[in-house]
């Protein structure tokens, strides 16, 4: 059951030429098993015996290599989600948006039917960041 995520994590790390260390495997497995974006506070709880610094360095490594991304960041917590294959070592490529349910606090990556497009005359838009807050299906 956890083995599945564990093996998956190892594969991802090898693909991106990152050493498959215990902490990295644990972080990826955790987020993978969590299904929705996982708040840092929960990751920390689960890895309570891992040094704070190591966790930060691990998250930074995974962010840089395009394995995870910041899905939401409020004053309270920062949520991390696994990247899809479209993200590479050199660039994140996200065309989705992030939704936070204000009831259950869950944060998810959502892919709306109509792609969000914004343009203003005279400006060149390189990247767009869209996040929404509301009530999720289960809480409604």
């Amino acid at each position: 059951m956890l083995k599945k995520h564990h093996e998956y994590a190892k594969g991802l790390l090898k693909e991106r030429n990152l050493k498959a260390t215990t902490t990295r495997i644990q972080v990826i497995s955790l987020i993978s098993a969590y299904k929705t974006a996982m708040p840092l506070s929960k990751i920390q709880q689960s890895l309570a015996n891992t040094d704070r610094v190591t966790l930060y360095r691990t998250l930074n490594a995974l962010l840089e290599k395009g394995l995870i991304h910041k899905a939401f960041s409020s004053g309270e917590d920062t949520y991390y989600a696994l990247c899809s294959d479209s993200c590479s070592t050199h660039a994140h490529q996200h065309d989705h948006i992030h939704f936070k349910c204000k009831v259950c606090q869950m944060v998810t990556c959502e892919y709306p039917e109509e792609k969000v497009v914004v343009s203003f005359p005279g400006f060149k838009v390189d990247s767009l960041n869209v996040s929404a807050v509301g009530v999720c299906g289960r809480c409604a």
Copy 2:
């Protein structure tokens, strides 16, 4: 020239039942004169002889009363902009988006022609936050 912003600031403060203290007037005047959203670092520079704590408390007061809003927040800096009249003591009501030019670092509030709408089945969207990064007209 600065008098104008100064008087404007006093008016805004009175409207929202905030005491017209020196720091508050200065902060509002500064942002008002800055035209685009002003980074905290610059506000701090301009108010170097004001206590750090006072500045934080001032910004919080202005945020709570709907006089200013956070326009952009990167790891580097947080940008503050004046609110329009639609924001009140009790709720911010922003239907605009925030643009940051990655060349000149300027952050502006923009009102695209087509209003951005996002919906996913099963979710109730209360608020939408859209920010864009790119190149502004002057830098293009």
